[in-house]
């Protein structure tokens, strides 16, 4: 009996060792080795008129939406669904983040504290009501009361209804970049009547103006949307969309490989090679407005010395991290702003160990020092970066203690400044230099406001305050360039990576365009 058991054990071991070695080629691809035809982005091919067939698009999403109420959610999985159901007054278009009309037809700013918008007159909600100025006032003021999304539009004081199709948005302080913030789903327009009728239950029957309307859901598993026939814009290319929750990245990819799903989101860079080699897979790469960085606690011990912060900047080979953790996707960051027009590249901190050691010696730390590096254990890429950075900083005798903790502990730790260094990211949802700099580095935003580096520089603060009020875009650009120069010289952080998103697509799918704030509008997608 025992012998049999041990033989069985060994046999399973051997089997386990053998199986994963050979990558399995799908049986239905007779011509392996032909290059892929994966397009970088499929330019806006207009979707064909709806066929009489029932086109059902299946999406593999990393998680289930927290809420289908746009004023109660600000996470990827919720936004992915909500962006199909609800719409914003303005949206981004193209790689330069141009802000273009959407539910609002046009607008003007009489001064830096007032925005007047004319609304489209042909927009209807899923319940048949026409979208009116009162809905806009209701939706935005409702979002202002929600702790989940308030911070995105908290420059808004209130909304005045001028007439049925005109609103005036009043700001609490001069805030020129407000339009960028109105592209965020947190400010999406929902039906006033539907919300008042449904009350708290609205999240289970969301009513928006989007190309798809809510159909059904299985909690924790799947959400299904159907096409909205009275949509004001171009008709969607598919009849139904189902969002399925598949937490493991590898499994999402397999879903597309096996033909179960058509789009898989949040694919790790390590799968790029596989998607390139497999003719049964297409993929989409698109840069977005997120940046990864390592922030210093600028008020903690040795890190108060700018020379130490600069030394660490010199000692970390950002290009090597990008090549390793992100497989060369995206762009190595040399400054705080993602690739928007206001971004500057001083290219100040080229990897240079000699210079780093000099600066450490100048600062009086020739014998090295000990620092903690905090990261969220749920974020694999941050954990990978932490392990590499620990190794790199050992070269200048900095002994890094990794503190990988779960999300809530992490946030509490960095909000209260318990860390020396921390790894995190920032999604500049308005694609404006203000939102890329103010919450992260303005001294009024210390701690939970977003500035976990506790960086303080009066001149930098002054420039950011100025930038919010400047209506002339050329002058405004100058202000932010100057501010970035100060910031990069002060080195309150090591900027690491501008994110490039990887999405896996089924080859029969066409028309997919990723949106620069991560969640795409799927009405352009259609089957070949």
């Amino acid at each position: 009996m025992k012998k049999l058991l041990s033989i069985l054990l060994v046999a399973t071991l051997v089997l386990a060792a053998c199986t994963p070695a050979a990558p399995t080629a799908p049986a239905d691809t007779p011509t392996p080795g032909t290059g892929t035809t994966a397009p970088e982005t499929t330019p806006g091919t207009p979707p064909p008129p709806a066929a009489d067939r029932d086109d059902h698009l299946i999406i593999a999403a990393p998680g289930f939406p927290l809420s289908m109420d746009t004023s109660r959610s600000n996470d990827f999985n919720s936004s992915l669904v909500n962006r199909q159901i609800a719409e914003t007054l303005v949206i981004f278009e193209g790689p330069n983040f141009n802000i273009v009309p959407h539910l609002a037809e046009d607008w003007h700013m009489p001064d830096a504290q007032t925005l007047v918008m004319n609304l489209r007159r042909d927009v209807y909600f899923h319940n048949g009501d026409q979208m009116l100025a009162s809905d806009v006032k209701f939706s935005i003021e409702r979002s202002l009361e929600s702790p989940v999304v308030r911070f995105i539009i908290d420059a808004i004081e209130n909304v005045d209804v001028i007439d049925d199709h005109t609103v005036q948005i009043n700001l609490r302080f001069p805030f020129v970049p407000i339009l960028g913030h109105l592209t965020h789903l947190g400010s999406a327009i929902v039906s006033e009547r539907a919300v008042l009728e449904a009350g708290e239950d609205f999240a289970n029957h969301p009513i928006g103006t989007g190309p798809f309307m809510f159909d059904s859901m299985t909690l924790g598993d799947e959400v299904t949307l159907v096409r909205f026939e009275d949509y004001w814009g171009p008709a969607p290319g598919v009849d139904r969309i189902s969002f399925r929750t598949i937490p493991e990245g590898t499994n999402r990819l397999i879903e597309v490989e096996t033909g179960v799903a058509h789009i898989a989101f949040d694919i790790s860079p390590h799968h790029l090679a596989r998607m390139q080699d497999d003719p049964s897979l297409d993929y989409n790469r698109s840069t977005n407005v997120r940046i990864h960085f390592m922030g210093f606690n600028n008020q903690s011990g040795s890190l108060q010395d700018v020379r130490v912060r600069q030394a660490i900047n010199y000692a970390i080979d950002v290009d090597a991290i990008v090549a390793n953790v992100f497989q060369g996707l995206g762009v190595a960051a040399h400054g705080p702003l993602v690739t928007i027009p206001a971004a500057i590249d001083l290219n100040l901190y080229q990897f240079n160990l000699e210079r780093a050691r000099e600066l450490m010696a100048e600062a009086g730390y020739a014998d090295g020092l000990s620092l903690t590096l905090w990261s969220n254990i749920a974020n694999q890429q941050d954990t990978d970066k932490a392990v590499i950075i620990q190794n790199m900083l050992a070269q200048i005798d900095i002994d890094v203690e990794l503190v990988s903790v779960e999300g809530a502990t992490f946030m509490e730790g960095i909000n209260t400044g318990q860390h020396d260094m921390h790894l995190t990211g920032w999604t500049n949802v308005s694609a404006d230099p203000d939102y890329g700099l103010f919450p992260l580095f303005h001294s009024s935003a210390h701690g939970s406001g977003g500035n976990r580096t506790f960086y303080t520089n009066a001149e930098f603060d002054r420039l950011l305050d100025l930038g919010r009020q400047e209506l002339d875009s050329a002058t405004r650009l100058e202000i932010y360039r100057e501010a970035q120069e100060i910031l990069i010289n002060d080195a309150p952080a090591v900027f690491i990576w501008h994110v490039e998103e990887l999405v896996c697509l089924a080859p029969e799918l066409d028309g997919f365009i990723n949106f620069p704030i991560r969640t795409p509008r799927l009405n352009t997608v259609f089957f070949n």
Partner: protein, 304 residues
């Protein structure tokens, strides 16, 4: 003293040493007869040697330990002469990490077994010896511990403490106490009614002395077997805890943590998952085989 006289009465002083030797020899003879037990012993000896010599076969440099020598230009190398187990996503030699990891697993196993054995044996002995209220109180507590799944209890304890190897060892140690307590109590219950205990008591030996000098030495056999098996389950629970991300901090080359880190590469780079996985399987296999062999060797009546 009086107990020494007892021994003299029971064992002829001239034959005692040789008799003792022969008993140990008997155990060893029976143990060595079992091929699986000897295979287990062999694997354990190899692993212990690996742990002892890890710094020699996989040395570090002046700034980094041997298990964390990264080379970002040399990632995902399949097994070769230079890197017998290949390299991982940071270009670290997986053999070096497995070798250094054997230290951690053995350390975890030893510390956990020490914690749980010390506490469990003490509780079980007290409980069995005194009976009555004390017995009831201790054993009902142990029953409660038993009712909670081991891994769940360990997760709860590990998340309450500061993450690290220490809290994993404490957590797994506490969750394994109940096994020892029950085994020892059962042995004590049968032993305490025997005549030599009565004899010890009649010459005025204290309870403490009776427990430590007379009862415990007589239930060593089941304790040793339980400790060997317990070490195997301790290592696997610790690996499971690291796998789900509780406890061990990167870049510690704990085998379970290595599995967890490399799991996402399993489709493209199987070697990253296989070697730490095989290492875990091997050590647990070896300990269980040794435990089986020891049990048979201690008590030949059990066999067949």
């Amino acid at each position: 003293m009086s107990t020494d006289k007892n021994i003299e009465i029971m064992d002829n002083p001239e034959t005692a040493p040789s008799k003792k030797r022969s008993q140990l020899y008997d155990i060893w003879r029976r143990f060595s007869k079992s091929k699986t037990a000897m295979l287990g012993l062999f694997i354990m000896v190899v692993l212990i040697l690996l742990a002892l010599t890890a710094d020699i076969i996989a040395p570090g440099d002046e700034r980094r330990p041997g298990y964390d020598i990264q080379n970002l230009q040399n990632t995902f190398q399949p097994p070769s002469l230079e890197h017998p187990f290949g390299t991982d996503n940071f270009g670290r030699d997986i053999f070096a990490r497995v070798a250094h990891g054997s230290r951690i697993s053995l350390q975890v196993g030893l510390v956990v077994v020490s914690i749980s054995m010390f506490a469990g044996v003490a509780l079980g002995a007290v409980s069995g010896f005194f009976s009555g209220f004390v017995d009831n109180f201790i054993m009902r507590t142990v029953d409660i511990l038993l009712a909670i799944p081991n891994i769940l209890l360990a997760i709860a304890i590990a998340s309450a403490l500061r993450p690290g190897l220490g809290s994993v060892m404490i957590a797994v140690g506490i969750s394994a106490i109940s096994g020892y307590a029950r085994i020892v109590r059962a042995s004590v219950l049968s032993l305490r009614e025997q005549e030599f205990i009565e004899a010890a008591r009649s010459v005025g030996a204290s309870n403490f002395r009776i427990i430590t000098k007379h009862i415990l030495p007589n239930c060593m056999a089941p304790i040793i077997v339980q400790a060997t098996m317990g070490m195997a389950s301790a290592i696997s629970v610790a690996a499971a805890l690291s796998f789900i991300g509780i406890g061990i901090q990167p870049p510690t080359p704990e085998w379970g943590a290595m599995l967890a880190e490399s799991r996402r590469f399993i489709r493209d780079h199987w070697h990253m998952v296989m070697f730490p996985g095989v290492a875990i399987a091997l050590i647990i296999f070896a300990l269980n085989m040794m435990g089986d062999g020891l049990r048979d060797a201690f008590d030949p009546r059990l066999k067949k």
